[in-house]
Amino acid sequence: MNEDLDMLEQSALNDYKYGFVTNIDTDTIPKGLNEGVITLISKKKNEPDWMLAWRLKAYAYWLKLEEPNWANIKHPPISYQDIIYYAAPKQKEQLSSLDEVDPELLKTFEKLGISLNEQKRLTGVAVDVVMDSVSIATSFKEQLSEIGVIFCSISEAIQKHPELVKKYLGSVVPMTDNYFAALNAAVFTDGSFCYIPKGVRCPMELSTYFRINAENSGQFERTLIIAEEGSYMSYLEGCTAPMRDENQLHAAVVELIAMEKAEIKYSTVQNWYPGDKEGNGGIYNFVTKRGICQGDYAKISWTQVETGSAITWKYPSVILKGDYSIGEFYSVAFTNHHQQADTGTKMIHLGKHTRSRIVAKGISAGQSQNSYRGLVRTAKGAINARNYSQCDSLLLGDKCGAHTFPYIEVKNKTAIIEHEATTSKIGEDQLFYCRQRGIDGEAAVALIVNGFAKEVMNQLPMEFAIEAQKLLAISMEGSVG
């Protein structure tokens, strides 16, 4: 019994190790949202006029929309006037190298386990760090620019590469796409921009780390990735936030464009603060992610490990426009306590001989609700379209829920679509097998869950996979009773 209590206490402490606040001066603007605020954000970022016009157009459209309510989630109404739309760590003008970054900030990233200096040296992963609303530092920029890869914050891209931004921003997720995409288009403050030129295979993983630090602020980042003909890139994204009582909104938009024979691999480990055990606080993660296989033989692959956020609401999608293009979606969503997740994907088959594969694993514990929602659509012209979907749910505890809402729409006589879903709890016999061999209950469950999620974890780049596995273990602690 004592042992159990100890374990519980331990797990309560372990619950969210990224929940610290960094005391850095931030430059914030007053709460609220109106045209003045948007103009102010645009001005602070020194944006050209066309960008401001674009933002205001999105805002005008957003005002006309109503918040969607079809997702299988419940939350009190969000007051959009109570959010600070711009918060930037105060720092010296224009950094020329990482050494000039506020030491307090560097400490934060060390705590997060992404010491920029170290990572730069050891892992060779190029990192762009976005804190609250603005991009802090991007490493490895020079090495990348030698081979023509542009990897910078989107604000910088607006300044330096307006022709690319103008051409592609909003081309995959138009501002009119949905409520949160319109909001994002109006107020987005930063994010990453990445351009891989023709025929280049990006030699290192590109990575962005997002962190919400300031109180009452929302984070609205926008990521735009363009892979030109024949190029390849792998992109990693991680997220954390401090523990706070109130809910914070995170409404991001990610757009991927893959030209002929290009390949983009996009991996996310999402670990926003999930709220406490009673369901207070936590991040509302309402994200629109979409990629388009613009050219023939293009490939886009989404991998996500979702363990954080009070509410997750996201559907990374692929539009398979080019012939022979491929879309993939691998997801592990873990929910505990009062977390809610409504996540899945959309595969839109337009081109001929397009293929897609969906593997979604949901694990629910505590009193959480975990939903898979997905759409597979084949258009009339999508000759020989092929899809395979598999959604499995694992239930840990008798108060949680696991739900599956797949939509399959076929308008083509050569399409082959398969969908399969199962829901069950961990088998008594599996647990017995482990216990009999001296593995305690908690470890046995972790082992089985890891096995359950392995198919997806295998898709993650190596160092990320280890992180994700640890994260899963931490999130799961105390969920077995």
């Binding site: 009339k380 008798d398 797949p406 399959i408 076929v410 399409a415 679509i417 398969e418 879903a421 829901t423």
Partner: protein, 436 residues
């Protein structure tokens, strides 16, 4: 839409002599609910793939009370399915139950058939009060409310305790759309007492070339150890639209087998709800859509597991050619108390033309942990190798196709336990495949 005003007129003009207060109250509330929600549009999630409101661009009439004059028992007999002449048959003309035309071969001790108003006023008052309208909790759309608002000349069917009815009971719906577009709204309440056994067959015929719309609601209640086999055969004309809602409530440990065969028709929507409200219920749902032309069939199932140890299995198969649309939308809910539930669902589809559409939406909503639930869905074509095997043996393309499609249908068809009905359906399918 002209219909709204028309419905209002008709509702206000309803004769006030409907004897039972239960029914009166129910229909009043339902009409308010209809006024509130209107006809379901395709914007509603539950009606995403079937647009009913566009059918109401034209005007439908409720039938006048005189159409049975033109239909005698002999003329109805000509419409009978094989085996129907030896069975109990209830006729519904334009949605109104016709006791005089109907033929009950079982004795009153074995099978009680009453007009619903009489049952509500008489000895079955308690049952009617408790179960009539219980489907409204699950079907909240305006169309369902519209049926309840106009409960008139409905039927009450009761199987007394221990009655193992050997001959089946047919509900034959005839719509008389010779002069105008007809909206018919049949309504039945069927109660199977302990240890009783019923084989129920439903079929539909539209006469005349005008449009018909059949908005049907059946509520079935099963007590402990009751057994129900429920067959629905939809083989009507392209001018016949239908929304058929069947709500089965298993209040005792009982067994249900349901089988829906959809061959022809206009826009068809089948709502089939199973509420498993006692431990150990068992339910098997089968469906086959074999569609050509412009048919549109939407199978919409809901299995609500409320108690532990229940078992349900669903197998729905769809074949769509020409410009037909076959839809399967299944929903399994496992409530927190329904531990040890086993619920399976499978939807298999073959698409034969680029103008045809298959939509599927198999959903699981699970709130209990000790369960085994799965669903599977496939959309594909005829197996090329199987085709080659047959063609290599000199079987012409058409016959080979037809052979494979019959094989595809057979695991649903073999579940028809009524011999004459199964033979009839098999013949219909052969003819159907040969003509396409």
């Amino acid at each position: 839409m002209m219909n709204t005003a028309y419905f209002k007129d008709q509702f206000e003009g309803l004769a006030d002599d409907s004897s039972a207060d239960t029914i009166k109250e129910l229909s009043k509330a339902a009409f308010e609910s209809y006024n509130h929600s209107g006809l379901p549009s395709s914007k509603l999630e539950e009606w995403k793939y079937t647009n009913i409101s566009s059918l109401f661009d034209k005007n439908y009439q409720f039938s006048k009370n005189n159409s049975e004059e033109e239909l005698s028992y002999t003329s109805l007999k000509a419409l009978n399915l094989p085996g129907q002449n030896e069975a109990n048959v209830l006729y519904f003309i334009d949605g109104r139950f016709m006791p005089d035309l109907s033929k009950i071969r079982s004795s009153e001790k074995e099978l009680v058939i009453l007009p619903l108003e009489k049952a509500a006023a008489g000895p079955y008052q308690k049952i009617v009060k408790e179960h009539l309208g219980s489907s409204s909790k699950y079907l909240k759309d305006g169309l369902h409310a519209l049926n309840t608002a106009f409960i008139q000349e409905a039927v009450f069917i009761y199987l007394p305790k221990g009655q193992q009815l050997e001959i089946p009971l047919y509900l034959h719906h005839v719509t008389h759309a010779t002069k105008e577009n007809i909206l018919s709204q049949p309504r039945s309440l069927i109660y199977l007492a302990e240890n009783s056994n019923l084989q129920l067959v439903e079929t539909y015929t539209t006469l005349g070339s005008m449009d018909s719309f059949n908005n049907e609601v059946i509520e079935i209640v099963l007590e402990e150890h009751a057994f129900l086999a429920y067959y629905k055969l939809q083989n009507d004309g392209p001018n016949a639209a239908q929304v058929s809602s069947t709500h089965i409530h298993q209040i005792g440990k009982s067994y249900v087998q349901s089988l829906t065969i959809s061959l022809n028709g206009g826009v068809i929507r089948n709502n089939l709800n199973l509420v498993l409200d006692a431990p150990g219920n068992e339910t098997h749902l089968y469906g086959l859509s074999l569609l050509k032309g412009n048919s549109h069939v939407d199978h919409h199932t809901l299995v609500d597991n409320k108690q532990p140890n229940c078992f349900s299995n669903q197998l729905y198969k769809g074949i769509a050619s020409d410009t037909a649309t076959a839809i399967f939308s299944g929903r399994i809910i496992v409530q927190p108390d329904a531990q040890k539930t086993n619920a399976y669902q499978s939807s298999k589809n073959i698409i034969l033309s680029d103008q045809a559409t298959i939509d599927a939406k198999p959903q699981l909503e699970i709130f209990a942990d000790d369960v085994k639930c799965s669903h599977g869905c496939t959309v594909g074509q005829l197996d090329e190798e199987a085709m080659f095997y047959l063609r290599a043996r000199g079987i012409p393309l058409k016959s080979a196709e037809s052979l494979l499609l019959q094989a595809f249908s057979s695991d649903v068809l073999t579940q028809i336990k009524l011999e004459p009905l199964r033979k009839h359906v098999e013949q219909l399918i052969s003819a159907h495949l040969a003509s396409s």
